[in-house]
Symmetry: D2
Subunit: 388 residues, 4 copies
Amino acid sequence: MAQPIGRHFLQIPGPTNVPDRVLRAMSAPTIDHRGPEFAALTREVLSAVRPVFGTSGPVLIYPSSGTGAWEAALVNTLSPGDRVLAFETGHFATLWREMAENLGLRVDFMPGDWRRGVDPEVVRQRLADDADHEIKAVCAVHNETSTAVTSRIEEVRRAIDDAAHPALLLVDTISSLGSVDFRHDEWGVDVTISCSQKGLMLPPGLGFNAISEKALRARESATLPRSYWDWGPILAANERGFFHSTPATNLLYGLLEALRMLEEEGLPEVFRRHRRHAAATRAAVRGWGLETLCLDEREHSPALTAVLLPQGHDADAFRGLVLNRFNMSLGAGLGKLAGTVFRIGHLGDFNDVSLAGTLSGVQMGLELAGVPIDQGGITAALRVLEEA
Amino acid sequence: MAQPIGRHFLQIPGPTNVPDRVLRAMSAPTIDHRGPEFAALTREVLSAVRPVFGTSGPVLIYPSSGTGAWEAALVNTLSPGDRVLAFETGHFATLWREMAENLGLRVDFMPGDWRRGVDPEVVRQRLADDADHEIKAVCAVHNETSTAVTSRIEEVRRAIDDAAHPALLLVDTISSLGSVDFRHDEWGVDVTISCSQKGLMLPPGLGFNAISEKALRARESATLPRSYWDWGPILAANERGFFHSTPATNLLYGLLEALRMLEEEGLPEVFRRHRRHAAATRAAVRGWGLETLCLDEREHSPALTAVLLPQGHDADAFRGLVLNRFNMSLGAGLGKLAGTVFRIGHLGDFNDVSLAGTLSGVQMGLELAGVPIDQGGITAALRVLEEA
Amino acid sequence: MAQPIGRHFLQIPGPTNVPDRVLRAMSAPTIDHRGPEFAALTREVLSAVRPVFGTSGPVLIYPSSGTGAWEAALVNTLSPGDRVLAFETGHFATLWREMAENLGLRVDFMPGDWRRGVDPEVVRQRLADDADHEIKAVCAVHNETSTAVTSRIEEVRRAIDDAAHPALLLVDTISSLGSVDFRHDEWGVDVTISCSQKGLMLPPGLGFNAISEKALRARESATLPRSYWDWGPILAANERGFFHSTPATNLLYGLLEALRMLEEEGLPEVFRRHRRHAAATRAAVRGWGLETLCLDEREHSPALTAVLLPQGHDADAFRGLVLNRFNMSLGAGLGKLAGTVFRIGHLGDFNDVSLAGTLSGVQMGLELAGVPIDQGGITAALRVLEEA
Amino acid sequence: MAQPIGRHFLQIPGPTNVPDRVLRAMSAPTIDHRGPEFAALTREVLSAVRPVFGTSGPVLIYPSSGTGAWEAALVNTLSPGDRVLAFETGHFATLWREMAENLGLRVDFMPGDWRRGVDPEVVRQRLADDADHEIKAVCAVHNETSTAVTSRIEEVRRAIDDAAHPALLLVDTISSLGSVDFRHDEWGVDVTISCSQKGLMLPPGLGFNAISEKALRARESATLPRSYWDWGPILAANERGFFHSTPATNLLYGLLEALRMLEEEGLPEVFRRHRRHAAATRAAVRGWGLETLCLDEREHSPALTAVLLPQGHDADAFRGLVLNRFNMSLGAGLGKLAGTVFRIGHLGDFNDVSLAGTLSGVQMGLELAGVPIDQGGITAALRVLEEA
């Protein structure tokens, strides 16, 4: 890949800037996936990945994208025609609905304005109304990558419990895992869906399912056809240190290194760092006199920030300018947000001066694109970063 | 990964020894999968991969193992309850049958002794007998990785044509693609299934489907549930230089480099090299006084060789000795061949002296394991390699 | 090496941030330094390196530091007891004097205040006074890495010519080559000394001498003992594509890649980029209300900026804070500048947003260190960077 | 670097096959050579390198080739006109003589036939004859890379002691260090010269001097001009964790990794492995009916083997054939051995199957080159390797 001058700033909300430690780990020679060295690797990875999900239960790893991990969650727990409750929190929630329908599920899709997270009250109400327990699963996106809104999963859990409803809770943590506090066990999540290229700081290519006992039991009666995604043979193989179909060995090398990095920094510190960076970014946005997409103060994402451009300004033209002039990639507005919103990723292996460079690039780009802003944005961000 | 002394000899039939050029290419920073640089990469990869499949049509690339690529082939072309014709050529053919049944297909599984390939006569007969065209697909493994037997796909094609049967032809080229001559278009294959970690010289993590016009049409009426594997949205996104779900970027970097290497050497020369190495390996096996699993001279695999140990000798103990003493991995006997067969992979990025080292390790290992052999094996192999 | 969070900002004036392209190139396997592939590499490197020096003559490459390349310049051209004219422009000029004296030369060392470059008037005067031509060489540092002052070598050349003096002109371009416009041939430099880890974007380990015909002739009568550094056998071996003693192969791989990068961007654009970054940095320094060490507007270095802290503030404590808090390395004050000056490297593979991140880190560090500054520094810098 | 098919076999006697662990370690980002992380690296490297030299005293590391490390040994310990005793054991010993003379020393060069090591009897005699102690140093090559003859340094030491002569003992361990047992302290060596690209498994670019107290004292009165090589300032900087001139950072990363590998295997096992490989190689040579250059059974090198071709056969044509046909580099005959001798390197990170591949390539090459040999060579070598 020819690279322009200097380090590229990959400030989309994933894939994130892969640490060179991880890239080096991934460049080790591929080994026999049926040999003793591999079995040791499997055991180490499967053990080290659990704390990041907040679980002491099994985590399955697929050679797949995050979308594949969604499919795995559905086909292992549900049957054709099952009803699931989902929420229009943004583009990815909408894609999830499509997938569920493609697979033959019926989706109760609660409408939304793409500026707020899942409303726990709506969950409570809908489940309370579902006296026959027709709804088999509640599907929520923890951190909507398209809107920078983080849903309050703990409250969603409480709403399900309040309704005393047996629905499974399936949560997409694709852009939150390893960046935003998440607790599979404590919050009673049944399937946590994730992937490698965001907070786990890897290239894309791995999908994850963390699963509860209840999810495992659901699998026994679920009748959607499944083979590649079937948890059963994978869990059996994992017991012996192997995988049911050939695993993506070199990405596993990288995963182990990334997990070591998260452990070295400590997850609480990792989450604190992401919250600081998000706060500094919002200070810049306010300093520029612009508006974030997220409307609820409780739901600002620690992992990325979505910014609305004033009417008449094209977010994609602005992003193109930033890419060409400053060698920095920003996230596009997706779906119905195309052209009006841009997204700043500040997740993964990231530090204060890289964020300052990012926000400087955004500020210069906005000015050069003719968006009317106040130049105080970067200074406001630095003031936040200076605080402990 | 702690590595023992010297270069590991990864002589299993895949993953193969990944060239350091490919590992270096894979260690480039991950880029925005929605940006212009990525679109150029997609187009270059999708174009360069076609000749290896012998096709001018589309090739789809999944973040998945080869098993996932099988599932993709089935769910895009078939409907619940469809009958498919398959052949017990070995362990992987047997796994394919299981997958098909898991997905709700009915499999006519022609029994076999794991020492021969698909019998074109049987294909001709079964299809001729199927006057109602209940059989929707013929599933064949080109190169059975578990037995080192290469089926004669061209003759299978002719048999289907002779029967004037409309069944699709689905072919697994997992351990042949890039090592053994294969011609998707010329042989009228409808879906060619493959993956990254064999002749393509990459780590595992990518699955492939090359597809015919007829396969694409079959997709329109196929009703097995599909979402992740659905060719439709992927082909649409590929048109614009992108993928429908996040692609495994760094493996694509490696793929492009591997395709360049194949092009530099030239596919005919690549195939010739594999045939030479297979011939030298068989010369060694004969020299040792041992027997190959493959019984038909027309069906010896150019990519790997499976060797039968004399009764009373444990192939896995032998392989363990070779691993510990010589830092070389050999392939195990799979399924019902466990313990009686070992496999020597000689595919991918491989040369004469590496093969000589491999065969030397096998010879020493056999002697140390107490298997009665003639020491002339290595010398016989060298004589074959000396010939132009 | 354990790495703190996020990318380290290596903003010392060398070693600079090595591009990952170069690191990957360097990680290719070492080859036979006497084989045909190596001869091709040698020829390509020796040809591609010339334009960076602005010469069509030979460039010698040593496995050495830049200090070694100084020694090579002296022992190839001078004899014990020879007089050389040198200038106290900073720490490295002072080290050069020490080296010359260690080797048995007599140094006329013109005093300086470490805030200005070589004064061409002094050169003219001293050479004019040297009627007997006792002075055998004029030694100048093009870009004083310790002071961020760039001497006007072209004017020094003119001064020598005005004096019609036969002294050789030896110029240290250690922190200017590949970052600051330099013209070995056009400016009549006799030996240009440089190294790998600055504008050439490599790790340390290579020293360079570009030499004139006159320098080559001087070698014939020079009598300082020499063997490792002797140009003669190296030039002879280079003719055949080899080196006289074993070359640092993998650094040569990196050098070739770095030279390609410079060629892709184009040297005039490379120099322009460095001047822009230096201008933006000085705008920040002025914005903070601080003072640069360099006093002459004509002599500000495009490659780095040295900043004076107000009395009572410890530059090393400030740098320690920036390292620990922001994962960024800044240059220390060297020699008599220790503790009062810090240096910002903005050379090598560097872009606008990286510079903005760097200056943000400096601004935050100054505030946190209690140095009284105006917060307008970063905004002033961004304004400069926004200009074409 | 374009690479031919498969792994290159770099079977010259250095540079050796660099382990990928070392290449990966070297590809970490360059750090500030004046920062705290670097100081920790320096201390770890300087401590871990000592056991390999068999010393508890200081080891100096230069950015240089091994030739540079020779120059360092001479200029730190000797004065113009000093007499040194040296031995014509081969090409490199002859080069060392040239260097000494270039630097102004007088060399008593004991003639030799390039097939034997230093004769301890001659040492004893010459020193006994030197009643005035005019001879200031005895210079010996431990392992003559051009001849594959290992001199008996311990006996040379004893000879010096027997003569009760105060001469320094300077020993070149360039192709023995890390491969052949060597004991700087125990054998009373005063300066041990070495470099990175042989038994230390690194690319070229580092030179080493291990020094005795006596050598350090000699430095105080030695008057050869010195600056770059001067031990004094380097030792002083090393005390603080730094180097006097900029060190070759990324090679130091690699060195640390290589030292870890040697420690993991254990030096006694490393030496044993090299002796086994040398024995197997000689078995092959005898099996082919050819002759090694080395004539004394006590002096066969564990690190490489030099083989004489029968009259009328061109060793360089043979090597060219092996390179082109088998992607393997063998060592040329150097100096007066050109064309009649080839050398097989079997040192560094090397294992039994790699050696078997190497010897197979040599055997096939000899046959294809028309050299009359017996094909039993490879089988004889395997028999040696099979033994514990």
